[in-house]
Each structure stands twice: as C-alpha cells, then as structure tokens.
Amino acid sequence: MKRAVSGLLVAAAAAIALGFLILPMLAIFLRVPPGRLLHLLTTSIVTDALVVSFKTTAIAQVLILVFGTPLAWLIASRRFRGRGLAITLVELPLVLPPAVAGLGLLAAFGRTGLLKTSIPFTQTAVVLAVAFVSSPLYIRAAVAAFEGVDPNLVAASRTLGAGPGRTFFRVVLPLARTGLAAGEALAFARGLGEFGATIMFAGSLQGVTQTLPLAIYSAFAIDFDTAIAMGALLVVISAVLLVFLKLVLSWRSSGPTSSFLFARST
C-alpha cells in the first residue's frame, strides 16, 4: 500500500515535470494558426534575422573550431602548471550571465575599451559575442573527446613513423570526431540563442546585427504574433539540432566521452 502511494507520487511528480517542460513549447505552436505562422515567417524582419543569425553563428563556429580545437588538444594531451586554472577559465563563460559577457566584451573591444576597436554595432560584434558564449561548450566537449583517445594508439602511430601532425589528423581526429561533433552542435545551438551579450555589445539593427532572439524581443512589443512565429522557428531549429546531436552520438561512440553529454534516447 505504502509502496503504491509512493509510486503514484513519483509518477505524478514526473508527469508534472514533463508537462511543465513541454507546455511552453507547445503553447507557442497553438497560439497562432499554422497558416498564419508560415505567412509571418516570410516577413523581412524574420528572413533578415534568420540570415544574420545563421551567418554570424556559422562564422563563430568556424572560429571556434579553428582556435578551440588546438586549445582543447593542448589541455587534453599535456600536463602543465596551471592546467586546472586554464580549464576553469575556459568554462567560466558557460556559467557567466550573458549580460556580464556583454559588459566584458564592451570593456575589452569597445571604442573606449582596452583595445579601443570600432567593433561594436557591427556584425563582427555579433560573431564575437556568439563565439564568447558558445566556445566553452565546444572546448569542454573537445577536451573530453581528446582525453578519451587511447594514448597507446597515438604512441603506436608515432612509433610507426607518423609525425605529430599526421598522427593528429589521421588518428586522433577520427577517433575524437563524435565528441567533437557533439560539442560543436551544442555550441551552434547555444550560439543561435545568444541574446544578452549581443544586444549589449552589438546593438540591434535589422539585417546587420539583429539576430532571431533580438528580433523576437523587438517584435514582442510591436507584433506579438511575429514574435511567436520566430519563437516557433527557433523551437524547430533547436529540435533539429538536438536530433542531429543524438544521431551523431549514436553513430559510433568514441569511448567514454560522449555519453555524459546527453541521456540516450534509445
């Protein structure tokens, strides 16, 4: 009897938790009829924001891959003084409030900032904001993926005459690619959702710096339905990214690195 009651309680709590998470996303789609939703998505505010979002996020991801991968490899393969500190610093932007990220970017790259650049209000500013908040997700996953590569395989490659570069590209990268792809997908998703740092550092101008989240915020006060339409678009994009991520993870596990990122859905 007692066990049945507690079982019921667990089920009820689980149902509430699930319902709570689903409801807001469902509500976005129920708010506006699908036909009108699609129509709203063709307005220039939405299409401009979509282009700005994907362009800036894509460029940021290239930067993250090019600069983040070597950093992750160094952290994963070397033991040096301050390694723990380096890891913590890399992870800090993850837990930093985006508004603080925006302040920091202004203080560093602003016209009156440390480096005195004229980056604010440009698309470059959006790219930097996105890169700053999303790169830790990739670097973290990449460090874990590299650490999961069997050092014996690396050693064998070197013994067989492959140089460090060849070993990295032919042995390490293929072995770590699942973890890298997963981290990259996460960073991409986080980048698309960036809001706080962008609006502070880059401002908001349609077709230049106004990304989808910024356009939602601007439309919210003017035209709620258009905001809802963009919200629906982002829910769909996020869902696609998540499914992609799960697919990547199910292809081939690169050791113990990938499973902690997400619960398996199979």
Partner: protein, 242 residues
C-alpha cells in the same frame, strides 16, 4: 520521499506567497525615461521601467500591473480602447535632444552634422515612443536620409543613453530629461522648437489591477502639486502647455 515532497511543496507555496503579498503599494509599469523621477514621487511603490511599448505588450499579456505610465498617449489610448486600462490622462511633457559623448569623437555640433557619412547614430526602435519621436524630428527637419547612419535601434531610451554615455555611439536622440542624468558623460545639442514632436506622457489604471485604490492614489500623487514639482525638478515640462 513523502517528507521531501511535502517540504518542497511547502517551500514553493511559501516563496510564491511572499512574492504575491498584497501591500498597499501599487505596481507601476513606467516608461524608462521616468526611472529617476517616479521613485522620488512614490518611494515605496514597485516599479518596472522599460520601453513603453514592451510594458504595454506585457499588460496585454496579463502582467500584474496596477498603473501604466507611458511616454506617449497612443499606447495607453490603444490599451483603453481594447479594455486593458482606464481612460488615460496626460501627466507630463518632454522634449527631445541630440546627445554626443563628452569626447565627441565624430565632431558633431548640431543635428545637421548627422548627414556626414560614417557617423554611428543610435536611436530607439520605431515601436518605442522615443523612436517614433526621433523619426518625427528627422522628418520635420528634412533629415530622414540620416537614418542610413543608424547603427542600432535600441529597446528603450536608456539603452540609447547608455550607448552614447559609454562612447560607443557617436550621437543619439533621447529626452532632455535622460540627458540630464549623465551630465559628465554627454553633451546636449538642442533641437529647434519648430522641429519638436508633441511629447505627452499618458497614465492610466490597468483594468485587471487588484489594487485599484493604490493605483488611483499613485496617479493622484503624480498629478498633485508636489508630484508635478518633482517632475519639473527632473526636467519634465508642466502637463499643460502654458
């Protein structure tokens, strides 16, 4: 297990009860430009300052506001028409100015200088009252072409102020009352009277307010001689043009 659930529920109930405690003080949704003046008139009221249009949108979505004070009359009028608030009354007026950072990096000394290429002009979004007033000023002066120099459309007037005070933008349009709050950081450039839009602030009681007496009392206070005197002290204009 059961104990844990009970404790959790009790905590949630306690927390939300504390958050929704009904005091005698109203919740006032007010235009960002009122950020400094309003708390001086009613120090104990709860305030939410933002772009008037964002606040109006929140009220339409059922936000728990008692009073809505907007930087124009169009937004409260529309809320009134749709049954979301009482008939608005005008409680103050304002004027627009052009501001530049104290260092004046783009060497701007008047509105006509905005025509120069490459200037970083920051304005408010067109849905925000100060944004539409800005468009009006530029139209009145035959300067709509300078809109190509706009680098950002901000969500309320204080965001415009911040971007200029910080020196990131070269120039921006704000209310004269906002410019006064950071005298050490910005230079104020006047806009001729003939180009000024009619900036009137409307205030109303939100229909769904659960605290209408407090809302009523707040509005009365704003309209009272003492309230009006405080508004003047912060640079606002008398509600009726003399």
């Amino acid at each position: 297990m059961k104990l844990a659930l009970a404790v959790m529920l009790a905590l949630v109930v306690a927390a939300t009860a504390a958050a929704s405690t009904d005091t005698t003080q109203p919740t006032v949704f007010a235009a960002a430009s009122l950020t400094d003046a309003f708390p001086k008139i009613a120090p104990k009221a709860r305030f939410s300052f933002a772009g008037s249009n964002a606040l109006a949108a929140q009220i339409r979505q059922g936000a728990p506001a008692d009073v809505f004070a907007s930087a124009n009359t169009a937004l409260p009028d529309a809320l009134h028409t749709d049954g979301f608030c009482s008939k608005p009354v005008i409680f103050t007026r304002n004027t627009l100015v052009l501001i530049v950072p104290k260092s004046n990096p783009a060497d701007i000394h008047g509105v006509y200088d905005l025509r120069r290429k490459g200037i970083k002009l920051v304005i408010a979004d067109k849905g925000v009252p100060v944004g539409s007033y800005t468009l009006q000023v530029l139209k009145n002066m035959g300067l709509s072409g300078v809109l190509k120099n706009v680098v950002s459309r901000e969500t309320d007037v204080r965001e415009v102020l911040a971007k200029i005070a910080l020196g990131e933008g070269d120039a921006g349009f704000v209310y004269s009352t906002d410019a006064r709050t950071v005298p050490n950081k910005v230079h104020v450039l006047k806009i001729p009277a003939w180009a000024q839009p009619k900036v009137q602030y409307g205030i109303c009681i939100v229909s769904r307010s659960s605290n209408k007496p407090a809302a009523q009392a707040f509005i009365k206070r704003v309209l009272s001689p003492a309230g009006q005197k405080m508004m003047l002290r912060y640079g606002f204009l008398p509600r009726v043009k003399k």
